[in-house]
């Protein structure tokens, strides 16, 4: 009820009940006991990215056809989008809320598209704003080393990369075949990192060309020499000519050396190295067969790699283990295997294979490639660090037992993927930065955390964790999917099978610009206001207005009576409720 002021002498009653003032006079905000507030939250993809990319923000920009902006968002965190866009195992898509609705957004393919587009339009890293006097040695130029070098160089440090091989790239160059990651793309990505002033010393193996003591002149050392030592098969005949490890084979193929394989090639193992070796052998004209001791379900290779291997017609023999390599004149002529059955579940959660007595069989082969696992080579490390087996122990900041010596990538105990390696390189860069400046590295890393899965954001680190994004992850149940229509996911085009066995051309062809835009627009933009206007439209008190800069909305709490319709109608969970006056 509003106060009626008497008009003239006599009370004048209008024909309908109407106020003398506008509704602004009635401050309905006094009714409120629930208070809605804009609160950008974490998208599950961001939390799940081992490289700590701000995927959500990049998707918003890609959806606005701003590839350069999306590339900048990604490369704040990961200098290798064109690499990850090709080889990442995409935990982001496994976490994507959209998969609960129809299918996950093609984040990985979009990352590739954004990276390729940005490169073609001439986008390069900006030089560091300041130069610091401290210098850091990075041992190994794989994804971990490159990531660490990039982030440290961006922060202004002098970085020297030491690489044992004649060229940079580590596993990206010598492990991953070029049909998955073309070499020219890798080189363009590396060149971009080097342009920040990173000094690269190739053919410089620490412990051989470079002495450990020489590293003492650096203010910090990052060890990322990878896992290049193959585990032995431990069967008779392993030293014969024609037996090699998967990594050795891939290294030679990827170095451009000719490898004589003969006709039949047996690859032992079910991991990604085994798949890469088999597919490379196929492309060299051999007839590969993969021998794995368990079944398809237990294979550690990623599903997509395994299915592409199968697509290409490569034979698998499951539930079989090699027992002996048959030789003739010191050269492989066959492999003897024994059949297995799966026994009870072992320590690693997988069922253990058990040999069936008398089930031996022999395959005539010319080459045996063993790819049953790899381990880091610690032989170049000083005595105290060399004692470790399997992986190098590090603390939560990536620091080893040696002062100012950090480690990452496949050198330490973490999933052996490119994106984890990139994440560990970034983590070391932050820890080194904090340590050099006498700051608490643990605190520094905590401020950079994105969620609970160990993802770290350099952008957050630089801002001390104050980027306006709440740490909580938006679950699917917080989205209002009434605003989304079901749309099938765009898939990457692939090279026809007929063209795969004769060369190392890239198999995945990526997304067209139209498909990429479609995918970017499929993104729910979980947790982050993308100015969709729904809150403004639905607010029954007109308490919501666009900010003058059009970058968000303000709630006028004089009129917000706390109905929280805005919270309900926000498609992406970017408004939260506080229960207090």
């Amino acid at each position: 009820m509003k106060k009626k002021k008497p008009l003239k002498k006599k009370l004048f009653l209008p024909p309908m009940s109407l106020s003398y003032e506008g509704s602004r006079a009635s401050k309905t905000g006094t009714w409120r006991y629930l208070t809605p507030a804009y609160l950008n939250k974490l998208a599950p993809c961001n939390e799940s990215c081992p490289a700590g990319e701000d995927i959500e923000a990049a998707m918003v920009l890609a959806g606005q056809e701003d590839c350069a902006g999306a590339w900048e968002k990604i490369t704040q965190e990961n200098p290798l989008p064109r690499v990850c866009g090709r080889v990442c195992f995409r935990p982001c898509e496994a976490a994507c809320n959209r998969k609960e609705f129809d299918e996950a957004t093609s984040i990985n393919a979009l990352e590739r598209f954004v990276g390729d587009q940005a490169f073609q339009s001439g986008k390069r890293f900006a030089p560091p704003q300041e130069k610091k006097k401290e210098k850091v040695a990075v041992i190994g130029s794989g994804p971990a080393g490159l990531s660490c070098a990039y982030h440290l160089a961006s922060l202004g440090y002098g970085v020297t990369l030491f690489e044992a091989q004649p060229k940079l790239g580590g596993v990206l160059r010598y492990g991953i075949p070029s049909y998955r990651l073309p070499k020219d793309i890798l080189e363009q990505e590396i060149d971009n990192i080097l342009s920040l002033g990173v000094e690269a010393k190739t053919g410089a193996r620490v412990g051989k060309e470079v002495k450990w003591a020489e590293l003492k002149k650096f203010d910090a050392v990052f060890l990322a020499a990878g896992a290049w030592k193959s585990l032995p098969l431990k069967v008779p005949g392993e030293t014969a000519k024609g037996v090699m490890s998967g990594l050795e084979f891939l290294l030679r193929v990827n170095s451009g050396q000719t490898v004589a394989l003969g006709q039949r090639v047996a690859i032992i193992g079910g991991g990604n190295t085994a798949m890469d070796a088999a597919r490379s052998a196929l492309r060299l004209g051999a007839k590969p067969v993969i021998i794995y001791r368990r079944t398809r379900e237990e294979m550690p290779a990623w599903k997509e790699e395994a299915s592409e291997t199968e697509e290409e017609g490569i034979e698998f023999i499951f539930l079989s283990s090699p027992v002996k390599i048959n030789t003739e004149n010191g050269k492989v002529k066959g492999i003897e295997c024994i059949k297995n059955v799966l026994g009870p579940v072992g320590k690693d959660g997988r069922r253990e294979p058990r040999p069936i007595e008398g089930s031996n069989f022999v395959l005539p082969v010319d080459t045996v490639i063993s790819a049953i696992g790899e381990t880091p080579d610690f032989s170049f490390l000083p005595e105290e660090l060399r004692k470790s087996t399997g992986s190098l122990p590090v603390d939560e900041t990536g620091a080893t037992a040696f002062k100012r010596v950090f480690a990452g990538g496949d050198f330490i105990a973490q999933p052996r993927t490119v994106s984890y390696a990139i994440g560990s390189g970034k983590k070391a860069a932050m820890a080194i930065d904090a340590t050099i400046h006498g700051k608490n590295a643990v605190e520094g890393l905590r401020s950079a955390r994105w969620g609970e899965k160990g993802s770290l954001s350099m952008a957050r680190y630089k801002k001390g964790g104050t980027d306006g994004i709440a740490p909580e992850v938006v679950p699917f149940s917080d989205l209002n999917t009434a605003y989304f229509k079901r749309q099938a996911r765009e898939r990457k085009e692939k090279l026809p099978l007929s063209r795969r066995d004769s060369g190392f051309s890239e198999v995945n062809l990526g997304l067209s610009p139209a498909s990429a835009l479609y995918e970017a627009k499929r993104c729910f933009n979980c947790g982050v206001c993308n100015l969709c206007h729904n809150c403004f439209i639905y607010c029954p008190d007109m308490a919501i207005s666009a900010r003058p800069d059009k970058q968000g909305y303000d709630i006028n709490y004089d009129y917000c009576k706390g109905c929280c319709i805005c919270v309900e109608e926000c498609p992406r969970g970017a408004i939260s409720v506080e229960v207090k006056k």
């Binding site: 009820m1 509003k2 009653l13 209008p14 309908m16 009940s17 106020s19 506008g22």
Partner: protein, 384 residues
Amino acid sequence: MRKLMTGNSAVSHGVVLSRAQVISAYPITPQTTIVEELSEMCADGRLPAKFIRVESEHSAMACVAAAAATGARVFTATSSHGLAYMHEMLHWVSGTRLPVVMVNANRAIGAPWSIWCDQGDSLSQRDTGWLQLYCQSAQEALDTVIQAYRIAEETLLPVMVLVDGFFLSHTSEPVDIPDQAAVDRFLPPFRARYKLTPDEPHTFNIMADTSLFISFRHQAQTAMEMAKKLTARVDREFKRQFGRGYGLLEKFRCTDAEVVLLTMGTAASTAREVIDQYRRQGKKVGLCRLRLFRPFPAEEFIRFLSGVKKVAVLDRDNSLGAGGIVAQELKAALYRAPRKPKVFEFIAGLGGKDITPETIQKVIDTTLRQANPNGAPLWLEVEA
């Protein structure tokens, strides 16, 4: 210009001539073709009005109410269940004193399902504060729409124009379409005294405290009383300008009539023929067609029926548990009449059942034959 057209098309033409600015409606048989034609005219530019599509009649009425509150001339149309669905909004519109004009094509309300004519749908909205004008012909429908805007905008009361579903809505007859310029002279643009505008913000319908609510209602009642005179005056003006008038009560052969048949809508045109048959037989029978049901012209009835011996009320509706609604209203009005005719009540033609000359003969014969009415209305032509 004379043109052959259906009652619904005549309504559409009336709306166009009245220069409605905002139209919102939801389709329902037998009204649909009214707004169908209007939407086409909005789409092709013949009618420069905003047509708002909605998901329900409740929203349609809410839309035109809001538009009227900003000072726009508005229109909507509905039937039966659609009208019932609007019920709440009908009260809001009249309470806000918004000059909304609506055409309702009369259709029985289910259950059981029926798309056919009776007047129960609009008569059951008699207490919502709307004027109700019942039409007999397509020409009258067109003319009444134009008149309705004048009445609505002068009284600030909403007006419902009723056309019998199918009997009028879907049958064709020659209609004289007045000139736009003539209609513009008759119906000037609407100038709202109170309207929603950002220049002068007001809240409409703020809560009226207990001391004021009754006063607002009393004002509306006073406006309704005025509306009776105004409707008659507007109709006279219309007749002066266009040569056609209808009155509040339309009388036929009533001058010396001892028995008067009272009905509403299209049944009256059938009744005209039957009345003439009785007149040829020398029976003093007349017909009265009630055009303005709300506000109910009680004084006019008292004057008119003074000296008439018997009134036969033919209701195309029924208030369950009470009887024909027109008959009830008439009896209540006659209570204060010094000389009261005997009121014979009949229910016929519900749910589209044809009211034939034979039906009307039964009404008149019964009224002539019986000295006194039965205790209850007589239902005609029902299955045992």
